[in-house]
Amino acid sequence: MNVVEEVQQKLDKKINKFFKKNEQRYYIDIDAKEIVPSAKIMFRDIECRFAIATGTHTPQGFEILYHFSHDKTGKIFSLRVALDKNAPEIESITSIITGAEWIEREMWEMLGINFKNHPNLKRLLLAPDFPEGVYPLRQKPRE
């Protein structure tokens, strides 16, 4: 069984959409509430390395892509979650993957996405005197 089949089998019903961009890149849509068990499967069972997460402000709301790199084959699996437009919120995966601490802090300050149960949710890159409630990576509405 290759790793793609393994991912499909282990994530199973959590997968809403499975998109193969090419041999090395896969995009998997899941529900936001499934992120912690899914990250656990990707990180612990399939032994992927957590490369980074990308938070994006889209016209529909917010989305986060969690990029997992399977280094034995060089394939990258990106788990995509969609978040609410008005109150973006998701469970933190730092308890499973220590290396996710910084990027969650960054998405919190840059996009205003709240990470529930994050151990150390404070500013990472922005200065302490940067105004509250201003999120630099949010798109401004077009006039």
Binding site: T56, H67, G99
Partner: protein, 422 residues
């Protein structure tokens, strides 16, 4: 800094390190919590150099982004464009001419060579081996000369282009580049000898700043930091791009995770880099001249992910395109972003005299070990500054030097063939 804080409840002293350090190019601020000599906790603050490049990328068209990401780091000034073109080529699904692939690898490996030499020099300085510092930086110059010879620039080569490279390498120049690479080998042999044979360096670096394999996996560290902890990853081999599958080389992995292993990985990697460059130069001879560009005309809507093994580890770029001529979202993750947090475990096992070298061992891109001060908890009075920390580190080396008499005394000899040639 006005940030010399003291924790009220715990009787701990905080040593702030940073945020500015003239030896390194970027700023960062470490707070070392100490009990006596022992480091108990490390708090890292950054953002002093945050320039909003991800946001800026959304305002530039794809071809301009190459130059923008090149300026993320002066030392990784080819790794970021490399990851960028990989990402955009992944988005478009284009294949690059083989000649361009070879040229990309040559520039990228030259960059690795000068980056590792830069780090080696700094590591020598932190340990009180200023000769190593001077020599490492001296032999970095010929590498920069090769870069200038090929691209016209010492750093910021502006060679990368979506679909290829901007400049060809003239086949008539290949023998000279080959010779310049050969001339580096005696210098590398000298550094290898200096590291492997010197018992004082062994005493200062073996067992210091250990990051275990499991911790390396948990912190998701990359590059030499991961490979020195026995995690066998290298993007150049795992997700092959450019000409890496076409030449013969190997990934260096060591098991112990201490500073010594990190030095070994970097020193041995420099030999591999020379091997890759020479292999690519051989390959260039067989490829038709001038075919260096796939001529990408448009960018479809969609997503692309590109990564590349920079000297410090994997650089990761993600691009989201809505079909316009500029990215709708651009995400950059540099290797130090994953490596620096691992200091929270690597640093807290040692004493403050080992702190400088442990913090420097991940080759942090934002390393700042300047402007540090040790504060007394009650009076908020400065006990040590950065100069003192450096002195502590260097004095420890001196003490060990006295304890371990070198018999015969280790005197690294300068290779004669490289002397003052460029």
């Amino acid at each position: 800094m006005g940030e010399f804080q003291v924790e009220d409840k715990k009787k701990q002293t905080i040593i702030p390190i940073g945020p500015y350090h003239p030896l390194q190019e970027e700023a960062e601020y470490f707070k070392l919590y100490v009990e006596g000599e022992k480091v108990t906790k490390l708090d890292i603050e950054l953002g002093y150099q945050h320039r909003g490049i991800e946001k800026l990328c959304e305002t530039r068209h794809f071809d301009q982004v190459v130059f923008l990401v090149e300026r993320i780091c002066g030392i990784c000034s080819c790794s970021h464009p490399f990851a960028h073109v990989n990402a955009v080529e992944d988005l478009c699904g284009v294949d690059v001419p083989i000649r361009a692939k070879y040229i990309r690898c040559i520039i990228a490996e030259l960059e690795r060579l000068h980056s590792h030499l830069l780090w080696l020099g700094l590591a020598g300085h932190f340990l009180g081996y200023n000769t190593v510092w001077m020599w490492a930086w001296k032999y970095r110059e010929p590498v920069l000369d090769i870069c200038e010879f090929i691209t016209g620039n010492r750093n910021h080569y502006a060679m990368f282009k979506i679909g290829g490279v901007r400049q060809d390498i003239d086949n008539n120049d290949i023998p000279q580049i080959n010779k310049m690479c050969d001339d580096l080998i005696p210098a590398l042999d000298m550094f290898k000898g200096a590291v492997m044979d010197d018992p004082v360096i062994h005493a200062r670096t073996k067992g210091v700043g250990i990051l275990t394999k499991q911790e390396a996996i948990d912190y998701c560290v990359v590059g030499p930091t991961a490979r020195a902890s026995g995690v066998d990853i290298d993007v150049r081999r795992d997700d092959p791009c450019a000409a890496y599958p076409l030449v013969d080389w190997k990934v260096i992995v060591t098991p112990n995770g201490d500073v010594f292993d990190k030095v070994v990985v970097r020193v041995l990697e420099m030999y591999e880099s020379v091997k890759i460059i020479k292999g690519c130069l051989e390959g260039l001879k067989k490829e038709p001249k001038g075919e260096i560009d796939a001529k990408v005309k448009s960018f479809p809507p969609g997503e692309g992910i590109g990564h590349y093994e920079a000297p410090r580890g994997e650089v990761f770029h993600y691009v989201l395109s809505d079909g316009a001529n500029r990215p709708a979202r651009y995400k950059v993750r540099a290797p130090s972003y994953m490596n620096i947090p691992s200091n929270q475990v690597a640093c807290t096992r040692g004493t403050i005299s080992d702190a400088a070298i442990t913090l420097a061992a991940v080759d942090p891109c934002y390393c700042c070990t300047e402007r540090s001060a040790v504060l007394d908890e009650k009076t908020n009075k400065k006990i040590f500054g950065w100069e003192d920390l450096l002195r502590l580190s260097q004095e420890k080396t001196e003490r060990i030097k006295k304890r371990i008499p070198l018999n015969p005394p280790f005197v690294p000899t300068e290779p004669t063939s490289v002397k003052g040639e460029y």
